[in-house]
Symmetry: C2
Subunit: 113 residues, 2 copies
Amino acid sequence: MNRDRAVTSLAALAQGTRLEAFRVLVQAGPTGLAAGDLAERLGISPPALSFHLRGLAQAGLVHARQQGRFIYYSAAYDAMQSLVDFLTENCCGGAACAPARAPARKSTSRRIV
Amino acid sequence: MNRDRAVTSLAALAQGTRLEAFRVLVQAGPTGLAAGDLAERLGISPPALSFHLRGLAQAGLVHARQQGRFIYYSAAYDAMQSLVDFLTENCCGGAACAPARAPARKSTSRRIV
DNA sequence: CAAATGATTAAATAGTTATTGAAATGTTGA
DNA sequence: TCAACATTTCAATAACTATTTAATCATTTG
């Protein structure tokens, strides 16, 4: 995992329909779902689903396999785990993360967010 | 954490400059960095940084505090952890989920606080 | 108060993304 | 082969995102 791949993966998940599709596939398990079933479940048109699945597949977050006239999509758990590992690595400069969980200091400085 | 908040957070991280900014802040620790220092470090203009920090702040991934004329930005570790938890929850339909839930092979970095 | 500094906001623009309907591709079974 | 079905690709458009320059806001200091 590197920055560009992480951006691609994050972008793939950073959209309501795709995040929902991915989560449905995660819960569907390794067998996955046929594209048509997934489209119906999400309430979107087949071309719309195809567009979004393309993004997820390019990011490596879902796998597709053809079975007869159906194409089954399933979640790529390992890719998901790689992304999570990347996001959480080098936290706190590699040092102990304890300081990060210290309550926000009530200094004279003004909190603006 | 819900779907919409997750999408906002993922979108905030799904851009090279913002992901890089966030990672720099994560490594900078709880004190964070002044906006100017961060802009210089990333090699982008102040307005560009302001635009990107706004996205990260709205997603709750960074905190800002004013100190004199400087505004210090720091990573919100707890928000990051919430996102990671959301992404990995309900994995495999709640059933046994060895592939995705196994401890990270090369590190123990999944938890960041 | 005025000047200087750090940062944000505004306006304009180029580039990217999502959505829709129509057409095309590929697979199965009569 | 032909008809039916599942899915994808194409083309057009609307909406959103990122970047730039100029202007504005806020804080400190002379």
